[in-house]
Amino acid sequence: MDAAVAAAAEARERLRASFASGRTRPAAWREAQLRGLLRMAAEMEDDICAALHADLAKPQTESYVHEISLVTTSCKFALKNLKKWMKPQKVPSRLLTFPSTARVAAEPLGVVLVISAWNYPFLLAIDPVVGAIAAGNAVVLKPSEVAPVTSSLLADLLPRYVDASCVRVVQGGIPETTALLELKWDKIFYTGNSKVGGIVMSYAAKHLTPVVLELGGKCPVVVDSNVNLHVAAKRIAAGKWGCNSGQACISPDYIVTTKSFAPKLLESLKKVLGKFYGQDPLRSPDLSRIVNSNHFNRLRGLMDDETVAGKIAFGGQSDEQQLRIAPTLLLDVPLDSAIMKEEIFGPLLPIITVDRIGESFAVINSMTKPLAAYLFTNDSRLKQQFERNISAGGMIFNDTGIHLTNPHLPFGGVGESGMGAYHGAFSFDAFTHRKAVLDRSSFLGEARARYPPYTPAKLSILRGVLKGNPMAMVQAAVGCTGGRRA
């Protein structure tokens, strides 16, 4: 534990000194780091895919499309917009403080801590770091120990591609993470589960450190009957099993549909699954495995629950040695079963049925706010009601998952799915202090009505000024006090 404490303190002190030296402030430094990350993603693509395969048996296509290319896009977007983001924004100055100029300057917070998750261990480590660097901070990155091969790779690669005096990787598990959390940071960015998110925030509270928490939840998919069923089924499948075998924070967690439509939906999903993963899904190279035996046993437990086991409508096979579970569909599990109370984070997809599609809202609102909510429908009124009445980090109509690829949309949770957001300019903002700067360097006007001794006449001028009364403004600006010189 002492070694962990010493390592954490040393990393932070080094970075504090580097930040204090001003090294991370110039645009040139930030651009150089972002280009370094771009080169890393391009040159080391094979190594990165190999690490992701070792940790998660992630298919190469997913590794490229969902991790590497998203990092690349993120770096390029930041490089393209950096100068714009760094520029102070002018604020219209009010007549109230005429003459003056006002602006909001973007300033780095300082030395920040990024703790990432195991399911997208490359993307969720580097993407926040892109934001932190673009905003001019020094960063300590603590990759997840549950994806150890990727963690080691990051520790090895980052010092080769970015400025090691300002960007450090600290590896480890609970002791190392706790040692880091005991220290004071200028911001902590955490991606993971809600329980640990609360713990991170409680550590941050001791130092009054602001946090971004990217957590999870049960992302619902409501499927109406008036949709192109085959396309809908494919998009649901892509968002579920095509995303790390359902181990993704924005994966559809469960479906709600009408009793009458459920059989058709079930058939369509079965067909799609057959096409995607063949007759022996446990052996398909296009499916990730379960990350470790803890999670494997957890998921098996959800399926083997006696109130649930009989509801398996498709799949249910697993291979403990290979840590694989086949895409599994369940129909009408009890709402109080564990599989409907916790975030599934795996290849099991319960389908809950209701009499009328509108009843799905009550099901969703009985749970905590999710990171994403999905609705498949062509009914614009239903869309409107969904948008208005369902609160979630983000929402997609007629697709799943893709909103996170749009850098113009903020990506983050609400309620128990998290606080704060990132991606695109939001990443820059997440690690920036917006400093208000007011300049009254022209001493042209002096509003003596502001000062004591207070008189009724002065007060009346102040009233006028605050109400925007032009006459009062003029009086104030010329130093009028409304009465005898005071």
């Binding site: 604020v91 109230l96 403080t97 903020p410």
Partner: protein, 488 residues
């Protein structure tokens, strides 16, 4: 009505649970979402401020000895301005923002839709008791939330004023005032809120954030710090006088220095200290001819805290002006000190009172290092005509805000975000920032079924990956060629 007086004992806990439940029901019922409801509340607030102005002034005078001109200038008047601003801009703030969507997702639309967080809690502070209660309330309501407001028990008259009137002018089951002391604050934090805004001291802020973490409630903390005022050579006598006027306004006219953005201490070059002190003394005499033109100290505890700062043996010799204290009336004369020891309490803690230490430096540029060595304050002030110095101050120091050649007025500009950084807090409000503080920006994407790119789906093969490489580089031309090539 819309108030809950939490008395001691078991009854109190029950009261609060009921309060929170009512607020949640009001929110879940949906009426706080409509534009009409929000406008009605804001108009109600406006009427409250206009009709009950005399009572508000009276409460502030009783609680703090605040002159009604200061009360209007710093609290009531600003609140009226903010409420009108919110009414004017509400439609714009509520409008979803359309954002760009990449061609690959065609046809699709994307928007950022602001939505209320739900049921929010605002902890206010005693020194600007109306402003720090109602300014956040404006934002919370504009954003469509149900709100619980907990004013400070250290400004009891204002607390009662709010408790008596909010329910009369606004929707009392969706906007509630909860009175009481720290125990009530603790009990409130045992419940789950959708956001908590806390204005006050770092010590209590830590407890609030720790309690919030149990429910994953996001917080905003408006704290304080020692706001320095860097005073450079000012050239003409006229400009010097104006600067001194503004320093006095930023210290003693701001609730007798009991304000988070009040000037805490001044940094000036050795050779200019005498002239600064001379003009300060003469202007103080002119401005504060009557004691009731400066607020009094809020209570005995703070009075004793401040007198201890002055009576510290290593500090007492540095008192240059003022120093007299009236314990009965809780009045401390405007006091100036010259170079008290830097390790004395008056130079290590936030003063929050009418005592102004002046610290001399050899060169004015040395102020920058001095300020950087302290925790980040809510505001940094600098009186200087030197543009290069101004640039250095902005680039090299960090604070909630920086104001040149004036003090405290940045609070009144609603286009500027108001909030701290580091030890002075996090989260910002005023104007549209208030609306954003209490909103969730929901990303909403809409797609159709017209175009379907099968290369998204497994089973994977190399050709699909190649296509995706082109697409992700937004190289549509190569994509189309390749796509057509595949077809052949």
């Amino acid at each position: 009505m819309g108030t809950t007086k939490a008395a001691d004992g078991a009854g109190a806990l029950l009261d609060l649970g009921e309060t929170v439940r009512e607020l949640r029901e009001a929110y879940e019922g949906g009426r706080t979402r409509s534009v009409a409801w929000r406008q009605a509340q804001l108009r109600g607030l406006l009427r409250l401020l206009q009709e009950k102005e005399a009572e508000a002034f009276q409460a502030l005078r009783t609680d703090l000895g605040k002159h009604h001109a200061e009360a209007y200038r710093d609290e009531v008047g600003l609140l009226i301005k903010s409420t009108n601003g919110a009414l004017r801009q509400l439609g714009k703030w509520m409008t979803p923002e359309k954002v760009w969507v990449p061609l690959i997702a065609f046809p699709a639309t994307a928007q950022v839709v602001p939505e209320p967080l739900g049921v929010v809690l605002v902890f206010s502070c005693w020194n600007v008791p109306l402003g720090l209660s109602l300014e956040p309330l404006i934002g919370a309501i504009a954003a469509g939330n149900a709100v619980a407001l907990k004013p400070s028990e250290l400004s009891p008259c204002t607390s009662r004023f709010l408790a008596d009137n909010i329910g009369r002018y606004m929707d009392s089951s969706a906007v509630k005032v909860v009175q009481g002391g720290p125990e009530v604050g603790e009990q409130l934090m045992e419940h789950r809120w959708d956001k908590v805004l806390f204005t006050g001291s770092p010590r209590i802020a830590r407890a609030v954030m720790a309690a919030a973490s149990r429910h994953l409630t996001p917080v905003a903390l408006e704290l304080g710090g020692k706001c320095p005022c860097i005073f450079d050579a000012m050239g003409s006598a006229r400009v010097l006088q104006i600067s001194v006027n503004r320093i006095i306004a930023g210290k003693w006219s701001s609730c007798a220095g009991q304000a988070c953005i009040a000037i805490d201490y001044v940094l000036v070059e050795e050779r200019f200290a005498p002239i600064l002190i001379k003009v300060l003394k003469s202007t103080l005499k002119r401005f504060f001819q009557e004691t009731d033109h400066m607020a009094r100290i809020v209570n005995k505890r703070h009075f004793e805290r401040l007198s201890n700062l002055l009576e510290d043996r290593s500090v007492a010799p540095s008192v240059l002006h003022g120093g007299s204290m009236d314990a009965k009336n809780l009045y401390i004369e405007p006091t100036i000190l010259l170079n008290p020891p830097l390790d004395s309490a008056i130079m290590t803690e936030e003063i929050f009172g009418p005592l102004l230490p002046i610290i001399t430096v050899k060169k004015i540029e040395d102020s920058i290092a001095f300020v950087k060595a302290m925790p980040k304050p809510l505001a940094i002030y600098a009186f200087t005509r030197d543009a290069a110095l101004r640039r250095r101050i902005v680039d090299e120091t960090s604070s909630g805000s920086v104001t040149f050649n004036d003090a405290v007025v940045q609070y009144a500009i609603d286009g500027l975000p108001f909030g701290g950084v580091g030890q002075s807090g996090f989260g910002q409000y005023h104007g549209k920032y208030s609306f954003e503080m209490f909103s969730h920006k929901k990303a909403v994407m809409k797609r159709g079924y017209l175009v379907e790119l099968t290369l998204r789906y497994p089973p994977w093969d190399e050709s699909k990956v190649t296509l995706m490489r082109y697409l992700y580089r937004f190289n549509y031309f190569a994509f189309v060629l390749s796509f057509l090539g595949l077809r052949r």
